[in-house]
Symmetry: C2
């Protein structure tokens, strides 16, 4: 346990006509930003609109095929998965990011869609009845810790290690995606009890977050805001009493911790 | 166009401890019924609970592995897809059914879940904060037709042909799933305009329906109730002017019509 599940569903408007580019190795890459807004119920039961902008990536022949069809303003459906990347900056700092890797992208027929977008401050269109859903199964990379914002709102941050297996050049490969998940209010109070290694199901939405680091830099992060978290039963292969590490289908959670952004680097 | 998308997510309680059985060919089959209830907003804006019972199927080694773990009352998550079956009865009538074929099933850790189920009339547990979501991309097998119930509520029934490609014994195989989709009220009025062959995205929930046929028999059907329907752009391969049929990735929609339950056999 636990084999990863990693599904993202987005429905938003293409903000700018994307430009096809090629890697030095000749691989076509198409980066598309989708914009939408979600209806959010806040703690008082009020409903407000929360805008989002998420970058999705296509590769290879699929990128080339779609480059023509995805014009600015096109409402578009994406089925994909979260893709974790980590790198070191020139001054030796560890950075990471989450993108959405596209499995399927479908421009919608815009007929009859008048009035379904709002124009943002940069003149880009944002879909007002958007869809933004993430479904993940993974293991916690550390014990959950419940905190409170200065306003007294409960918030729990979870580090989730989500396994991916794939075949590349005839070889079985494995990759772990480190996904930052937050839970708020009642769900946060409950999720504060979760412990390192536990397999969980998370259903939520993809959100953008930005903050100023202690060195004054502006930082951006993509994370999952959980609407629902469920504990899964540990399978027979999970670590028993005395186990120091939990094998998650071949991924060592201890090792994963190294890759995860340090706590102090994050806004709360 | 259109390659099929066919995803089902269910979170419900196992109603009865399932019994593993084997086909004459020796394939293990595990049939599990999950029960839950969805919160539905009706036309007056009121919220009520709609119970559902859906049968999901596992095969082979996965069925054998899970047979031990899925006890009555276990809250369980399923990721799967809709599977269409058609057969002829002994008196030569065409019948069809939709099941959920499991790609992944995960019993939840029941700790802290007290009070999250309700007991039904048969003494079985039903999850009260269930999840029931279906995401489909397919082509319409016929023009949509808007009707009204005797109470004046708008309802549109759509026949959706959803393509599946898979490899079996080293051969590329293709199967088409014929899924019955209903839309109500405002969505029904809009969907009434959709025409045969159009590729659409449908997001909704799986519902049970039963009715008495003209010959007095009790019939049951599983269908998708749409919360959202989006028209997709026709790809370059779709039928142009004068085309009599639309190729959906190799599947002829005309041919599909033969397989679809006759109109008069359905409750409205």
């Amino acid at each position: 346990m636990a084999k990863g599940t990693n599904r993202v569903y987005l429905l938003g408007t293409v903000t700018q006509t994307p430009e096809l580019r090629y890697t030095p190795g000749g691989l076509a890459v198409l980066e598309v930003t989708l914009a939408g807004q979600d209806k959010i119920t806040d703690e008082t039961g009020g409903v407000r609109e929360l805008p989002w902008y998420h970058r999705v990536k296509l590769f290879g022949r699929y990128a080339e095929l779609l480059a023509e069809q995805l014009q600015a303003g096109t409402p578009t459906f994406v089925e994909g998965r979260l893709d974790y990347r980590a790198w070191d900056t020139e001054d030796g700092q560890r950075r990471s990011a989450i993108d959405v890797r596209v499995d399927r992208i479908e421009p919608l027929n815009p007929e009859g869609r008048e009035g379904r977008t709002v124009t943002d401050a940069r003149g880009q269109e944002r879909l007002s009845d958007a869809l933004n859903q993430v479904i993940l199964i993974g293991n916690l990379t550390r014990d959950a810790e419940l905190r409170y914002t200065p306003q007294g709102t409960a918030v729990t941050r979870l580090g989730l290690a989500v396994n991916e297996r794939y075949v590349s050049r005839g070889q079985d490969q494995e990759k772990t995606h480190f996904i930052d998940v937050t839970a708020w209010r009642e769900l946060a109070e409950w999720a504060g009890e979760l412990t390192k290694g536990e397999p969980v199901l998370v259903i939520g939405r993809l959100v953008n977050d930005s903050w100023t680091s202690s060195t004054g830099e502006r930082r951006f992060v993509t994370r999952v805001e959980a609407k629902r978290i469920e504990r899964l039963t540990r399978g027979p292969g999970a670590g028993g009493p005395g186990a120091q590490t939990v094998q998650t289908g071949g991924v060592d959670v201890e090792e994963g911790l190294e890759d995860f952004p340090p706590e102090e680097d994050l806004p709360f």
